[in-house]
């Protein structure tokens, strides 16, 4: 037996092939992530230091720069889930299915945060953490519906029909954006503790540094939402791939057990 060392050429095949890093990130998401972090740092400075206190709400107004942007990001997530649900019901394509699930999960996080930060802001402003106000009630309903969409997509009844599960989840997903409309207009339709539109009117009721900080918050939360949505979409995509890989593997194993040669 020869003990001569292998030449570099002979060693080459034994080396692990060059592979892309096993993550859900890409150059674009890394740039977006860095910009989002920088934006968050700037937002913190404006929200907590550079913007003035409000005449009536004093410093508790600083919660607005988190509460309103998270609520708007939640609305965006619901809109994407509704569109993806409709497209999945129409096309039945994997991409829309994965997007619907990703947007619903990210929207759940932002809706939950909007509820919690609103509750904390409500205590110094209204004197209570919770009130069955039309906007709070409709937002709570939205949060429950978002959890419902995800539960319906995942419930696995014995011998469950995946298509039926998908249809049920998608139908609830279709109802999300109409509920967002109810959340938005609830302050006009019913008597509410919340004030009516502040920035979506032609003459916004806040201005100067406060308006700029609020807009900055909306942009930064939008960037964070996008970054999370892309990563969560890729997680869903990988889960689907693993399901496919697992199924292919199971078919190969069953065929091997039965002595059937693969076509």
């Amino acid at each position: 037996m020869s003990s001569a060392p292998l030449s570099p050429q002979a060693e080459a095949p034994a080396r692990a092939p060059a592979r892309a890093p096993a993550t859900t990130s890409s150059p674009a998401t890394r740039v977006l992530g860095a910009l989002t972090l920088a934006g968050l740092a700037l937002l913190l400075l404006y929200a907590l230091v550079w913007s003035p206190a409000d005449r009536d709400m004093h410093d508790s107004v600083r919660l607005m720069y988190l509460h309103v942007p998270t609520a708007i990001a939640a609305y965006l997530g619901c809109a994407i889930t509704t569109v993806a649900s409709a497209m999945w019901l129409w096309r039945r394509s994997e991409g829309w299915w994965v997007l619907g699930g990703a947007a619903a999960e990210v929207a759940t996080v932002f809706t939950g945060l909007a509820l919690v930060t609103g509750s904390i802001w409500g205590r110094p402003t209204w004197g209570t953490y919770w009130q069955w106000d039309p906007r709070i009630t409709s937002t709570t309903l939205l949060f429950i519906m978002l959890i419902g969409v995800q539960a319906l997509r995942r419930i696995d009844n014995e011998g469950g029909d995946a298509a039926a599960r998908g249809v049920r989840g998608a139908v609830v997903g279709l109802l999300l954006f109409p509920n967002v409309m109810i959340v938005h207009f609830s302050v006009d339709w019913w008597r509410s503790l919340h004030q009516t539109a502040t920035i979506t009117r032609l003459d916004p009721t806040i201005e100067g540094t406060m308006l700029f900080t609020l807009m900055l918050g909306i942009v930064v939360m939008g960037m964070l939402f996008s970054w999370l949505l892309v990563h969560r979409f890729r997680v869903g995509w990988l889960e689907e791939r693993l399901g496919t890989v697992g199924l292919d593997q199971a078919i190969v194993e069953r065929r091997a057990e039965a002595g059937v040669v693969a076509p």
Binding site: T23, S25, L113, V116, P124, L238
Partner: protein, 44 residues
């Protein structure tokens, strides 16, 4: 600063939740990506 407790609580919870969810999503993706062939990870 007035209402400092509420401002710190609200921002604290918000940032911690967003950071934790981001971290969990990236870790989940990393764990799954290691089990999927590179050619099926279209973004890499």
């Amino acid at each position: 600063m007035t209402h400092a407790y509420y401002v710190a609580l609200g921002w604290g919870i918000g940032l911690v939740v967003l950071a934790a969810y981001s971290f969990r999503t990236v870790r989940r993706g990393r764990a799954l990506a290691q089990r999927v062939p590179p050619e099926q990870r279209r973004w890499s």
